[in-house]
């Protein structure tokens, strides 16, 4: 769980473009790139769904 949270933090940092040196050192502990790739894809899907939902909510509320 802790590891998943750390991955999430790294990917969110990458999305925002803000990352701390401590987190970077932490990431370097990982042996493989795949956990980042998978978390990245997961977060991208979430982002797309989030934007689509926002657009849908806005459209149904404004245009009536």
């Amino acid at each position: 769980m802790n590891r998943f949270f750390s991955l999430l933090k790294s990917v969110t940092g990458a999305f925002l473009g803000v990352q701390s040196g401590k987190q970077l050192d932490n990431d370097a502990e990982e042996k493989s790139v795949w956990p980042f790739v998978i978390t990245g894809i997961f977060m991208t899907v979430l982002l797309v769904i989030g934007i689509a939902a926002a657009v849908r909510i806005v459209l149904t509320n404004i245009s009536g």
Binding site: L16, V18, G21, V58, I62, S63
Partner: protein, 386 residues
């Protein structure tokens, strides 16, 4: 510093500052009059577009003042001559997150009113008047969908003004022979498309700017509140005369609009009668040549040039060309039907049979083509019937 350089620098600088001061002291309304800014326009939508623009402009100004203020203050306050020492640290996650989230919040705050306006702009439902707008190289065609009225709208600025041999008029390059007349206070929907390349129908005062794309129909709309004449231009580079296909929208009260429609429908009948009479009567070779020269100057010279030499390889020369000196039927055919996929458009629905006969006769005998051929309106009609 050399004092003469100082003086040289100072004069323009102080003038610039004076100008900036004058501009900043003008009241808001006067600022809108300065053509540097976009127009407020004459529709509710154009007004909200203008308001959005100003809101976002002032947000940008505020951001610039804060960012550059901090920057210049730091540069001056922490300068080396005051003994400032550079700090050596690598990161500050909290500050970085703040300066990422604040712009994000500002963007979202701007997106809310912008989206509200966009949604309104895209709502083309419940229009009372439907007009199909078609871009041609280089003119516009307007068709009132439920009124049986349609016409081309050509640039009407005389060539002499363009060639600088006559004084330029007030609406130089922004005037047309047939303006698009619309009623005020009614929702008018524009169905915008193109016959050849991509154009863009742009009337700033209506806040309408839509690409005209062959094979697609883009929709837009406007409710003009005040009667008046509003001018625009093609806004998508579309070839040689892109700058010579202006748009003029003439908004009239609903009563005047109805009258105009009736007049237009009458005019159409008259024109049909005239065209029929012109087709039926016999023309001499000289008459056809004289009429053909006029038609050519109006409809063909933009591409094939008054000299007939064209602009190869884009617009072919008609001097001793295979078609203008070859088979008459092929010549009539390319004028009536055009050549799909090229700038050579079908003139069958733009010119009467008599005009086609005249221009074909003209092309076959002008510029030393001297075929001696005479093409009559009847020839054209027979060809069209095939």
């Amino acid at each position: 510093m050399d004092t003469s350089v100082c003086r040289w620098l100072n004069a323009p600088l102080s003038r610039l500052l004076q100008a900036a001061l004058v501009l900043s002291l003008l009241p808001q309304d006067a600022a809108a009059e300065i053509p540097l800014n976009m127009p407020v326009g004459v529709t509710d939508i154009s007004r909200s577009v203008y308001d959005l623009h100003m809101t976002i402009f002032w947000i940008c100004v505020a951001i610039a003042v804060v960012v550059f203020g901090v920057m210049f203050w730091s540069i001056i306050h922490h300068r080396k001559s005051k003994g400032a020492k550079a700090a050596h640290f690598h990161e500050n996650t909290v500050v970085e997150i703040i300066w990422t989230l604040i712009p994000m919040a500002i963007l979202i705050a701007m997106a809310i009113p912008a989206t509200a306006t966009l949604v309104k702009m895209y709502d083309t439902s419940d229009a009372e008047v439907d007009i199909q707008v078609t871009g041609y190289q280089w003119k516009w065609h307007y068709k009132y969908l439920d009124q049986d009225v349609e016409f081309f709208s050509n640039l009407s600025t005389p060539r002499e003004q363009i060639e600088n041999t006559a004084e330029k008029s007030e609406h130089y390059l922004l005037e047309v022979d047939n303006a698009l007349v619309i009623p005020t206070g009614k929702k008018v929907r524009f169905l915008i498309t193109s016959n050849d390349v991509i154009h863009s129908w742009w009337v700033p005062h209506l806040a309408v700017k839509k690409d005209a794309i062959p094979g697609f129909i883009n929709e837009s709309w406007a409710i003009v509140n005040e009667p008046g004449v509003y001018r625009g231009q093609c806004a998508e580079l579309c070839g040689k005369d892109h700058g010579f296909m202006p748009i003029v929208v003439d908004a009239r009260s609903p009563e005047d609009y109805q009258q105009w429609l009736l007049a237009k429908q009458e005019e159409k009948e008259q024109q049909a009668q005239q065209a029929a009479a012109a087709t039926a009567r016999t023309w001499t070779h000289e008459e056809l040549m004289a009429e053909g020269e006029k038609v050519y100057a109006r409809a063909c010279a933009a591409c094939h040039q008054p000299s007939g030499a064209g602009m190869p390889p884009v617009f072919p020369s008609l001097i001793k060309s295979p078609i203008t000196t070859g088979d008459i039927n092929a010549h009539i055919d390319i004028v009536v039907r055009g050549k799909p996929g090229t700038a050579m458009q079908a003139f069958g629905n733009q010119l009467t049979p008599a005009e086609v006969a005249a221009v074909v006769t003209y092309e076959r005998n002008a510029w030393g083509n001297d075929t001696g051929d005479t093409v009559t309106p009847t020839d054209v009609q027979e060809h069209n019937a095939q």
